[in-house]
């Protein structure tokens, strides 16, 4: 096995799981997450030579996975489907999936609460809450100012709190 082959294999091994869950939280359905993950890794494979150590490898990979997830969600909008309709579709996917454990009502409800957030807030919340990324890293992934991210995360948490308390 040559060096680039071995390198790519190690990279897939190391990041496969975390990238899958990051994508899954964004696109909700397992099948869609699988497709997006494949595309993410193929993109990484094609552009591995272009990677410059300006950011960490993990940030670079998160950025690609995030872009692929958003591209996937935007594809629906190209077919004249509104943002609200995309949100509703995601909610339906959450409520009718073979790969969701409905016995954990609280956990399902929490995911429903997250899905009520606008896309950007949802992304910021997921990256901060689940992946525990620093605001500076999220800033590099999303091309957004740290202050804006902090505000996004604060409002996201407030909305989730409200949803969980009132529903």
């Amino acid at each position: 096995m040559t060096d680039p082959e071995l390198g790519f294999r190690l990279l897939v091994e190391k990041f496969q799981s975390s990238m899958y869950w990051h994508i899954r939280r964004m696109v909700v359905s397992h099948e869609d997450a699988e497709d997006v993950l494949q595309e993410t890794f193929m993109k990484i494979f094609r552009h591995l030579d272009d990677f410059r150590a300006e950011s960490s490898l993990s940030t670079w990979i998160y950025r690609i996975a995030t872009n692929e997830s958003i591209r996937f969600l935007n594809r629906r909008k190209e077919f004249a489907v509104s943002t609200e309709e995309v949100q509703e579709e995601l909610m339906n996917k959450l409520m009718a999936s073979e790969y969701v454990d409905y016995e954990n009502e609280m956990e399902v409800k929490f995911q429903r609460a997250i899905l009520t957030l606008p896309e950007k807030q949802r992304l910021v919340f997921n990256l901060r809450y689940y992946d525990e990324l620093k605001y500076e890293e999220i800033s590099r992934i999303t091309d957004t100012k740290v202050e804006t991210l902090k505000a996004n995360y604060y409002f996201a948490k407030e909305k989730i709190k409200e949803y969980m308390t009132n529903n």
Partner: protein, 131 residues
């Protein structure tokens, strides 16, 4: 008064599941796709190399032909030494090129030739003509 929701009550737990053996299968598929793409890229490079080589060879032949009007055109039965030498040189270059290919590259090249649409069309046409 309603009690505020406590995030720690849920933590990072999610209701999402994956099929059994998903990550192993996923990894194998990803690496297979990457390998296929690498092979295609290599084939493309060989194809480009061959195309460039043939173009240059054709150009050299053209230049030699037009710049040497006095050169004898071989007639049946009497092939000039110069013409023959040129033919031998071309064959040698091709032999040398093929010899430098690795087994895998050679295999890819043969596979490419077998799948060449123009090659197939020509063969089909020939067969039709024979019919």
């Amino acid at each position: 008064m309603k009690k505020d929701f406590d995030f720690d009550a849920i933590g990072k737990r999610m209701p999402f599941r994956t099929p059994e053996g998903f990550f192993e299968r996923m990894q194998a598929e990803t690496l297979k796709r990457a390998e296929e793409e690498r092979r295609k890229r290599k084939m493309f490079r060989i194809r480009m190399g061959v195309s460039v080589f043939l173009s240059v060879a054709a150009m050299i032949c053209g230049i030699v032909f037009f710049l040497k009007p006095s050169m004898e055109v071989p007639s049946q039965g009497s092939v000039s030494n110069g013409w023959m030498a040129q033919m031998i040189d071309d064959t040698d270059i091709m032999d040398l090129y093929i010899r430098e290919l690795t087994d895998e590259e050679l295999e890819n090249w043969i596979e490419f030739s077998e799948n060449d649409i123009f090659y197939e069309l020509t063969t089909e046409n020939l067969n039709e003509d024979e019919d």
